[in-house]
């Protein structure tokens, strides 16, 4: 049998794919194993609210054997959802407009600038976003946007320092918007030109063509983009750890505009924040539980996203 026989090369290449699967399986097993004590000690109440999560984490950290695991992680769930959800909603609007602009309306000279710009924004390391956040944006917001009255209005509950939902969401939006733009642009560009030209030939203007045909046909891709961006937002750790406030807190919508200036702590940021204590058994297991939650949700999201995208491919053909 020759070296270039398919019977030899096919399985050899296929084993690379199998290796990928093994890695994922390993990851799921290890993270779950490490996280298990935290989940089994709390049951479903793990996701509920009650008590102060900051205090609970401190107790977990300090506990002597037999270890303490009690945690009500709702504020973390809520903080994650707020930051990621807010970023995805803002990102959806921004990315749709920007994608339309790139595909249909920008002069070629600006498209030539915008494409590297989008790629650059995707490529800027999160530590640089964090650096700008913590050294520029946080002091700015603290000095100019949060009045003393506003601080005093809530200071028995939480202190406002500039590290806030607002900055976290804004930076997160900038970080995920390139993914959404790239998917939206690809989708808009792959809308069959027979449709767009057909609409143009009927005398519709180009904006209407993009709305009634382009975006309509790209809806699955927009959903897929949002889903993938959401997965990315859930997992962003370094930047959020740097700007999101360092205290586990659930911003209260009833506080009006102050809501946006209240700190949050998403799961991923909490992991970075607590990383120094990872070897302390109950605390480490709690951090792994955070990771497990992120892992399960992002795996779920990316599978959803790929299913939607596969649908899209079928539909485009």
């Amino acid at each position: 049998m020759s070296w270039w026989s398919d019977r030899r090369v096919g399985p050899a290449l296929g084993s690379a794919g199998v290796l990928v699967l093994l890695i994922i399986a390993g990851m799921a097993v290890y993270v779950t194993k490490e996280a298990w004590p935290s989940f089994s000690a709390n049951g479903l109440a793990w996701f509920g609210s009650g008590g102060d999560a900051n205090v609970q984490l401190a107790e977990i950290f300090r506990s002597a054997p037999p270890f303490e695991y009690t945690l009500r992680a709702w504020p973390l769930v809520y903080g994650t959802a707020l930051a990621a959800g807010g970023a995805v909603v803002a990102g959806l609007v921004l990315s749709i407009l920007a994608a339309l602009y790139i595909v249909a309306f920008a002069p070629p000279s600006i498209t030539r600038i915008l494409e590297p710009v989008v790629r650059l924004l995707a490529g800027v390391p999160s530590v640089i976003y964090g650096l700008i956040g913590v050294l520029v944006l946080v002091p700015f917001v603290n000095d100019h946007l949060i009045s003393t009255e506003r601080k005093e209005s809530v200071f028995y509950v939480i202190q406002l320092t500039g590290q806030s939902l607002l900055i976290a969401t804004a930076l997160l939006t900038i970080m995920i918007v390139p993914i959404m733009i790239s998917i939206a642009v690809d989708a808009l560009r792959s809308v069959p030109s027979s449709w767009t030209e057909g609409a143009l030939a009927l005398g519709a203007n180009r904006m209407r063509v993009m709305w009634t045909i382009g975006l309509r046909a790209s809806r699955p891709a927009l959903v897929a983009g949002a889903v993938l961006a959401l997965a990315r937002a859930l997992g962003e750790a370094i930047m959020l750890a740097m700007v999101s406030g360092g205290v586990i807190f659930s911003p209260n919508l009833l506080d009006g505009p102050t809501f946006f200036f209240e700190p949050i702590q998403p799961f991923a940021a909490a992991i970075v924040q607590g990383a120094e204590g990872i070897t302390v058994k109950p605390f480490g297991s709690t951090l792994f539980a955070f990771a497990a939650v992120i892992m399960v949700s992002s795996v779920g999201l990316s599978i959803t996203g790929s299913v939607v995208r596969r649908r899209l491919r079928k539909f485009a053909a």
Binding site: E197, G198, L200, A201, L202, G203
Partner: protein, 288 residues
Amino acid sequence: MPPPPIRRIVVDAPHVPVAPPEPLEAAVRARPRLATDAVERMRVEDLTIAYGPKVAVNGVTLPVHQGEVLALIGPSGCGKTTLLRSLNRLVELTPGAGRGGKIVLDGDDVDVIEVTDLRRRVSMVFQQPNPFPMSIFDNVAYALREQGSKRVKRSELMAPVRSALERAGLWDEVGDDLDRPALRMSGGQQQRLCIARALAANPEVLLLDEPCSALDPRSTAIIEELILQLREELAVVIVTHNLQQAYRIGDRVAFMYLGELVEYGLAADVFERPEHTRTAEYVSGAFG
């Protein structure tokens, strides 16, 4: 067994007259000469279109008459589609496409007509049926809705949609369920839907780019008949690679080769008494 002798294509040979398609011969001979005073709807003057450095249409001058069907023929890549798409300025969508020369619609340069207006007046049907992924009704109503900026009620649109479907000979087949997705129709129906969609805006000129090439004989026959009916109300330009079709429905035929207009004239003249060798070769099937 020895192979049969080789039969060469004689390139650049003097032309030999071509017989018209047999089944139609009688009808063609009986056809009255076209009036020379037919109203000129559009006129292409010294038109040149280039995609970047590649010249696709080269100095073509051509009139389009009301009440006639103009058939554009020529081998693959000779610029038929490009010429057609320049008539409603669709060619401008291709990045890098440039235009020289002039196109006139009813005496106005097409460049000064608002482009969405122009495209409603000079409507186009494509080679592949391309209904939008919406209901039949929404497809036909598309041009009507996009005309104004306000939302129009469905009931108000019903009359024009019905009339367009009737003119396209589709009402009897689909009139009872206009909410069906257009993509569920058969190929021939889809193409007629596209014609109906183009007709809904009451165009003055109808452009058709190989509208039957993806269709079966029955659908082809229906659409050919439809085109002949429509020509009473508007000017029709049709691109086709089916020479018999050009002979059957074209009142005038333009033969293009390598971007240039080689021959233009009445259908019977071009097919039976072509002036140029290339035309004779092409209509006799030596290439293409």
